[in-house]
Structure formats: C-alpha cells, structure tokens
C-alpha cells in the first residue's frame, strides 16, 4: 500500500510545461531516488508534493489525504512531510536548537521544555549533540545540512523529501550527510531523494527514477538503471554521471 501516490501530475510556469504528467507511487519505508538532467523538473516535482508550488493538473494522494484538494489543511500536511534543501536554508538568527524547535513550538504548540527535549534528541540523531547552541554561521556546510535534517525530523514526518542535499557541500563533507541519510533509511524512514550521489544510490535506494523534460523516462532498481538502462536517454545520462 503506497503512502504517496502521484498521478498525471502537471505543472506549468506560464506557457512552459515543466511536469508533463508524472505517475509515481512511493511505499512506506521505501527510498526512491530521482536523477535527471538539469531543468528536467526534479525540484519542481518535490515542491509540488508539499505544495510549495501549486500543481496545474493531476493528483497527489499522501497518507489518505488528497494534497491538491482545496480543503486540505496545508500546514497540517506539511508537518508530516519533511523537506531538506540544497542550500540548507537554516534561520541565521537562531541557534541550531532554535532552528529545530521553531515549528515544534509554533505549529505543534509544545512548551519550550518539551520542544527543547525533542530538539536535542533530533540533533543527537544527526550527531550534533555538542552544537545545539551554535549559530549556522559557526557550523560547516555538512553540519548545517544535518541541522536542517534534524529540523525536518523533529516533527516526526512520515516522509522526507531531499532536494540535492549534498550538492552544495565540499566533497569531504558529503559523507557525514549521507551517513545520516543511511541511518534514516535503516530506521525505516520513507524518503524521496533528488541526488546524483551514485554510490549512495546503489547502496541505499530501493528504486531509481530517471526524469527528463518533465517525464519519467525509466524506473527500476539501482542495478538495472545504472548497469543496463533500457532507454537511450537514460543510458546517455548515466554514462555521463559515471565518467
């Protein structure tokens, strides 16, 4: 039984159609990887799922709720979907702990003590127990991204959407973030990940989706997509990544 079912999803910006009918379902505890060339619509797809972008057509069902319904409580929906961005987007005027607890306090109305306890636990999960009082400017990129992951996890989401979580990081910092994502996977978190970390995809992904020009061109287990892609476009893209 899938937790997320996307059907016929379309999105246009003005007259240019960026998503041209996406069908995709994600099961509970599954890690689905999305790859594809720049501009193929990967970020737009993730952003439609929590409606940071308004889809122009099609449907998204998440955990029994029709996401695109007008009556859907967006803010309630969003707290059960974590999102992690390429550029971290931490709040620069708040400590790591305050970044993680803001939504706990404002959205879930937890007391400061309760929120802090949950926040510390989330930061411990990403290996940053000793950085609770640090400001983002005092943290490395890898640490900042892990705080951002803790911020998403603190709300106990049912899925986490990752948009190129390691692309802005120096190579030596990528590992720390991937390690956290591996832990999440081992803990049974459902994840939808846009990334081009091939090794990670091979090890951890249950399924790889290849997108091009607003379509899903091909999908399958990592071994199939990376070793014997059926479509010429997939083959060319994967060959480029491996080079």
């Amino acid at each position: 039984m899938p937790i997320l079912t996307i059907s016929g999803l379309r999105k246009s910006f003005g007259t240019t159609e960026v998503l041209k009918g996406i069908d995709l379902s994600v099961s509970n505890r599954e890690l689905v990887f999305i790859i594809g060339p720049s501009g193929s619509g990967k970020s737009t797809l993730l952003r439609c799922i929590n409606r940071l972008e308004e889809p122009t057509g099609g449907g998204i069902a998440f955990d029994g709720v029709e996401v695109t319904d007008r009556s859907t409580d967006l803010n309630a929906l969003r707290r059960s979907m974590g999102m992690v961005f390429q550029s971290f987007n931490l709040y620069p005027h708040m400590t790591a702990l305050a970044n993680v607890t803001l939504a706990l306090r404002k959205v879930l109305k937890k007391s400061r003590d309760e929120a802090d306890a949950i926040g510390r636990e989330a930061l411990a999960k990403v290996g940053l127990s000793d950085k609770t009082a640090s400001y983002p400017s005092e943290l490395s990129g890898g640490q900042q991204q892990r705080v951002a992951i803790a911020r998403a996890l603190a709300l106990d989401p049912k899925i986490v959407l990752f948009d190129e979580p390691t692309s802005a990081l120096d190579p030596e910092l990528v590992g720390s973030v991937l390690a956290v994502m591996r832990d999440l996977k081992a803990g049974g978190m459902t994840m939808l990940v846009v990334s081009h970390e091939l090794r990670f995809a091979r090890d951890a992904a249950d399924r790889v989706i290849f997108m091009d020009q607003g379509h899903i061109v091909e999908e399958g287990p990592p071994s199939a997509i990376f070793n014997e892609p059926r479509e010429a476009r997939t083959r060319a893209f994967v060959a480029g990544l491996l080079r």
């Binding site: 929590n50 940071l52 803010n75 309630a76 969003r78 707290r79 979907m81 974590g82 999102m83 961005f85 550029s87 987007n89 931490l90 709040y91 620069p92 005027h93 803001l102 939504a103 404002k106 959205v107 983002p136 400017s137 943290l139 900042q144 951002a148 911020r151 998403a152 709300l155």
Partner: protein, 227 residues
Amino acid sequence: MTAWERFLETFFKPELMVQYWPDILEGVVVTVQIAAAVVVTGLALGLMLASVRAYQVRFLNLFIVIFVDVFRALPPLVAILLIYFGLPNIDIVLPSFAVLWLVLSFVLAAFAEEIFWAGITSTPKGQWEAARSTGLTFSQTLLSVVLPQAIRLGIPPLTNRTIAITKNTALGTVIGVSEILSQATSAQAFTGNATPLMMGALAYIILFIPIVAVGRWIETRFAWRRA
C-alpha cells in the same frame, strides 16, 4: 573692549547663562520627551506598515506606498505648518506638541517602512520555503523568521535616519513648542544677546553626542554576519 571680550559678551555672558539655564533645561526635557515619543511611534508604525505590505493586499499596498512617498517627499516643516495652521479651519485643533510629534513620527515611519520593507524583500526565498515546509503559516513565518532578519538588516541605515529625524524636533519652534530652540530664541529676542542661542546649541550637542555614539555602537554591533 577687545574683540575677545566682545566675543565672550555676545556668546557667553555669565549673567544670562545663570538667568536662562532653567529655561533651556525645560526645553531639553520637552525635546527629549518628543524625540523619544517620535522614535517609538515612528519605528513601530514603520515596522507595522512594512509587515502589512508583505501580505500584498492591493489597496492597502497602494495606501502604504502613497503614504511613504508623500512623507519622504514633503519637507517636515511644510507638513508641520500645513497641519498646525490648516486643521483648525476644519475644526480640528491639535496642540502644537502633538502636531510636531505626529509629523515627525510619520516621516520616520515612512523611511523606516522603506528600510524594513527592503529587509523583508531581501530575505532569501529559501527562508520562507524552509519555514512553510515545516507547517508554519505565512504570518508565523513573517513574525519569527523574516522580520527578525529584516530588522537586523535595517538597523544600521535606520540609526542615522532616526537621529536625523529626531533633530527635527527643533522645527517645533515655528509653532511654539517649548523645546530647546524655542526657549533659546525667545530668550535671545528678549535680551538681544546670542548667549541663550549658544546655550541651546550646547544643549543639542550634549544631548545628541551620546546618541550619535550609541548609534555608531549599534551599527557595528549589528553588522550582519552570514555563513
């Protein structure tokens, strides 16, 4: 009489200094009160207008932009005279200190609105998205995430502007607010000697030098550090 003695006689006549310092002090109190009131209401109104503008309601935005442009374009003296001498004709009589306070508050609010608004628009889109993706509403995001950053960004440019506008309390003299300059000029007219004016000038300097110094401290303290 030597030139030096004439100079002292004109600007620092001891008897007049003794006689008029209580009046000047009274003026200082009035100036401080009005300046403090202007800073509080002007900045608060400016921040409020900038926040309302973030909601992008068309007719409200139009109103805000017109308000801001008018009070940035109009010399404060003109607004003060217009309101003080104009409103009584439609049976609204405001005390002179209230007119001074209102006009200067509006001028400060206009500049503050622009500065806070610039801070709001320069907050990266990713900040909004991160907050909204954790379920915060638009208002919660504005209040907890965007405004604190916009205010910090605005503090250095606002400090100078605030000091410049509070000095305009001296304009109160044309409508008879008994602030420093007004006390000094009436004493000057009465005695035919510039000593009270010099005392007024000294009072402004003593009053504003600490404020300028605090302003400089605030500017460096809040210089924005980013990752």
